[in-house]
Amino acid sequence: MQKDATLDTKGLMCPMPIVQLAKKVKDLKSGQVLELLADDVGAKEDVPAWCSRTGNQLVGTETEGTLLKFYIKVK
């Protein structure tokens, strides 16, 4: 999937992936797509929940073994 930036949160657990995601999104422009890498199982539900709460759009997810990839289009 096309992306403008990547945020790697591998090894971090709740709430750090979400906290770093929120910080990173602030640095991006509206319409840009951020790739978020996470291996915290909680992120599977947390990232979609954060997106729906903040109005950022989750445009795709991929799983590679234990690695989760989220593609978030900035509001």
Partner: protein, 130 residues
């Protein structure tokens, strides 16, 4: 979002910060009200321990949490404040717990029950951490 914290142990100390930090990162206004044993958690010297016998394993817990990116307690408080989390100490129980105004971390406000209830009534979520 409002939270009431009435205990001062490690587990009760971290939970409101994890919830509060996440909520603040999602754009939610967060108010955390510390009362009874909780008031010690917003002091400059706060260094909470696990409850009872588990107290001995606090260091191990802290190391494990640091490995997954969760800061030490004082640093975690600071991170929350930077994200806009509001901390309050209960004015009545402070004297009961021997906590003085000057012991409180900068930015911690003093509040009575009525003022907290007003905040809670205007909030969609209220959690009690006791």
């Amino acid at each position: 979002m409002c939270m009431v914290v009435s205990e001062g142990t490690f587990d009760k100390a971290y939970m409101p910060l994890i919830m509060g930090q996440t909520a603040a990162a999602s754009g939610t206004e967060v108010h955390v009200f510390y009362t009874f044993f909780g008031t010690k958690l917003v002091t400059k010297k706060a260094n909470p321990k696990l409850p009872g016998m588990y107290r001995l394993f606090t260091g191990m817990f802290r190391n494990r949490m640091q490995k997954v990116g969760i800061a030490g307690y004082q640093e975690f408080l600071k991170q929350c404040q930077e994200l806009g989390v509001n901390f309050y100490a209960c004015s009545t129980t402070m004297s009961l717990m021997g906590v003085k105004n000057e012991d409180l971390l900068p930015g911690v406000k003093l509040l009575g029950a009525a003022a907290f209830l007003k905040l809670a009534s205007e909030s969609q979520t209220t959690l009690f951490i006791g």
